[in-house]
């Protein structure tokens, strides 16, 4: 028996391909969106301290003994006697020059301070993020594949518990037990004060200081990744292409690692990048607890002083960093998911 041939033109008409948006257009859209978010950050960073109820000079000096003259000096320093648009204009021009104002506490330009403290924050959050991603994703896919088993129950239980712990409290406990009590790890800072160790000794010293803050951050952050990855893999478990893979004669572990996991990784990636802000929150609290000399610690000091330019500067820098990271993540995602690659 055979089937009649078919007119190729008719087939072509009926068998059309779906088309996606072009990469260029997508890039422009995303970059434009990020730019708008950046502008909004700058606007919020400026107006939040000026338009909200109350006199910033009073708010800033709240809880301290200050004379009216000091308040007046502060007002002039802040340029509060100018009209708002004028103030904003000056602020914008300064910002474009990279000038974030001068810190009251340090008596130094905020931009300098930010640059100084950037490295330690990158070291801390970078290490913590890397470890959390690896740990969370690996445990997540394993738990999903063995769902309902003890492995799954123990790891989702642990993750949910860690997720419920306030970061700073966990930090405090670790500090008490391993820093104060047992004395295994240093309790503050990034390097031993007064030591002029260099080379490998210096690296080891920093690593020694890094352990407790990183463990604190990882404990809270990995849990999210675990849950997200577990959910994504479970989502893929009933997909037809896994049946195809099994029908081909693949072993179960290959079905998982070659087919289910690569597909589950894609939605997970988006969600991981969406929670980058979470890392910033972690950085602020962990650095505050461990006196880690990073941007978060700087923000904490700006908050306690209170030091308006410092607070405003760290807010703008942190937010801008997260916005840029999100943009990068979007583009990376575009590149790793073949479904989104330019047609």
């Amino acid at each position: 028996m055979s089937v009649a041939p078919v007119d190729p033109a008719a087939v072509a008409a009926a068998d059309e391909l779906p088309r996606g948006p072009s990469l260029g257009r997508y890039l422009a859209l995303r970059a434009g969106g990020s730019l708008i978010s950046l502008v909004m950050v700058v606007v919020v960073g400026f107006f939040a301290f000026r338009i909200l109820p109350g006199d910033p000079a009073i708010t800033l000096t709240r809880g301290r003994q200050v004379s009216p003259e000091e308040v007046e000096r502060l007002r002039q320093e802040l340029g509060l006697d100018d009209a708002l648009p004028v103030q904003f204009w000056h602020y914008l021009l300064d910002l474009l020059r990279g000038d974030l104002g001068t810190s009251y506490v340090y008596r130094r330009p905020v931009s300098e301070l930010v640059l100084e403290h950037l490295g330690p924050t990158l070291l801390l959050t970078g290490t913590a993020a890397l470890l959390s991603v690896v740990l969370g994703l690996w445990l997540g896919q394993k738990a999903a594949w063995r769902r309902g088993t003890w492995f799954d129950k123990i790891h989702t239980g642990l993750a949910l518990t860690f997720w419920s712990v306030p970061t700073f409290w966990l930090g405090l406990l670790l500090l008490l037990v391993f820093g104060g009590g047992l004395g295994w790890f240093p309790t503050a800072g990034m390097e031993t004060a007064g030591s002029d160790a260099s080379g490998l000794a210096h690296v080891l010293d920093v690593a020694h200081h890094l352990v407790l803050p990183v463990v604190t951050m990882v404990a809270v952050v990995y849990a999210q990744y675990l849950m997200v990855m577990r959910a994504s893999v479970l989502e893929e478990m009933h997909e037809d292409y896994l049946t195809t893979a099994r029908a081909k004669g693949l072993r179960e572990d290959l079905v998982r690692t070659r087919h289910a996991v690569p597909n589950a990784l894609l939605p997970t990636t988006t969600l991981i990048f969406l929670t980058i802000g979470f890392l910033v929150a972690g950085a602020v609290t962990v650095e505050a607890v461990f006196s880690w000399p990073g941007l978060g610690y700087l923000a904490y000091q700006g908050l306690n002083a209170p030091d308006l330019p410092l607070l405003q500067g760290t807010f703008v820098v942190f937010s801008a960093a997260v916005i840029v990271m999100n943009l990068v993540a979007d583009l990376v995602y575009r590149l790793i998911d073949p479904r989104l690659k330019a047609a």
Binding site: G33, I36, S37, M40, V41, V44, G45, A48, F49, L52, P53, G54, P56, T59, R147, L160, T161, W163, S164, V165, P166, T167, F168, W169, L172, L173, L175, L176, G180, G181, R230, A231, L234, M237, L274, G277, V280, A281, V284, T285, A288, A299, Y300, L303, N304, P306, L311, Q312, T314, F315, F318, S319, V322, I323, N326
Partner: protein, 296 residues
């Protein structure tokens, strides 16, 4: 003739029973719910169990930082107050902030999310940019900025947490709105003559609510953690007791480093237990109300 109103009521009741029995079959969710109820009742009864005068520093007679004993099960704090009593009173503020901030964030998130999913064109663009901003800006930083400029108080904390945490809800609600609105029954409804209000009110909102409800329980936990974090950073209300302010004073008075564990452990553990309970209840609810997630 059919009387649809009574039938609908019967059906709703049957559905509630069904949801309950499915929820009750998940042990972890049930345990979480029972624990939560106990904690909420204790918090409500706090004024009866421990008169507020016993927390008045000027009237305290106990020594400060005393270790746990028969008289003070959890010892005393640096001001000589009974830690258990402070903990009980602290639960009121922590839970209040948790619930109120979540309410703010859920209402905002649901309304904005539905609008972003339903409307097209310019409005959609504007709303989406707005959501996007709140999604990417680190919410703790924004909450810090907000609560450092506004006057200290529970209201400020609630506002700061609520206003900075709604974007995730809006994102979820928008996705659900888009899914619902792509269903043919919306097309059918529009072809029958339905307008925006009918589509949003009769079709979209009822299908979004279960999701929001499950999300709410999860969000209360996050809000409680956020409250403690803001308190710890010194942005709390200095005049009320909360678990966060307890930890803050433990740190400030050196109780933490001096090894007075009875003042450091209980508030933190209380937070962990409550947040974990909310999370367990939220996950159980999620799997009951959103069957596509059941396997999770």
């Amino acid at each position: 003739m059919v009387r649809p109103s009574s039938a609908a009521r019967l059906r709703r009741r049957a559905r509630l029973r069904e949801v309950w029995s499915e929820f009750a079959s998940q042990r972890s969710g049930l345990v979480g719910l029972v624990l939560l109820l106990v904690i909420v009742v204790l918090a409500l009864l706090a004024p009866l169990l421990v008169p507020i005068e016993r927390l008045d520093v000027t009237r305290v007679t106990a020594p400060s930082n005393a270790a746990p004993s028969g008289g003070h099960w959890l010892g005393t704090d640096p001001q000589g107050r009974d830690v258990l009593a402070v903990l009980l009173w602290g639960s009121r503020a922590s839970l209040l902030v948790g619930f109120a901030a979540t309410a703010v964030s859920m209402v905002l998130g649901t309304v904005v999310g539905m609008a972003a999913g339903h409307f097209r064109g310019l409005w959609q663009g504007v709303i989406l940019r707005f959501v996007d901003f709140f999604l990417v800006v680190p919410s703790l930083m924004l909450a810090i900025v907000l609560s450092s400029v506004l006057s200290r108080g529970l209201g400020t904390i609630i506002l700061a947490i609520g206003v900075t945490s709604w974007a995730q809800t809006a994102r979820i609600v928008r996705a659900q709105t888009l899914t619902i609105e792509s269903r043919p029954y919306i097309e059918r409804s529009i072809a029958l003559g339905a307008g925006d209000v009918h589509v949003l009110g009769r079709h979209v909102l009822p299908s979004v609510m279960p999701l929001v409800l499950a999300n709410t329980t999860l969000a209360v936990g996050s809000a409680i953690i956020a409250e403690s974090t803001l308190s710890f950073l010194g942005l709390g209300d200095p005049t009320t007791f909360s678990w966060g302010s307890m930890l803050k004073s433990a740190l400030d008075t050196g109780a933490a480093t001096a090894g007075y564990w009875w003042y450091v452990l209980p508030p933190g553990l209380a937070i962990v237990v409550v947040v974990l309970c909310f999370t367990l209840v939220g996950r159980a609810l999620e799997s009951v109300l959103n069957p596509t997630l059941r396997s999770r």
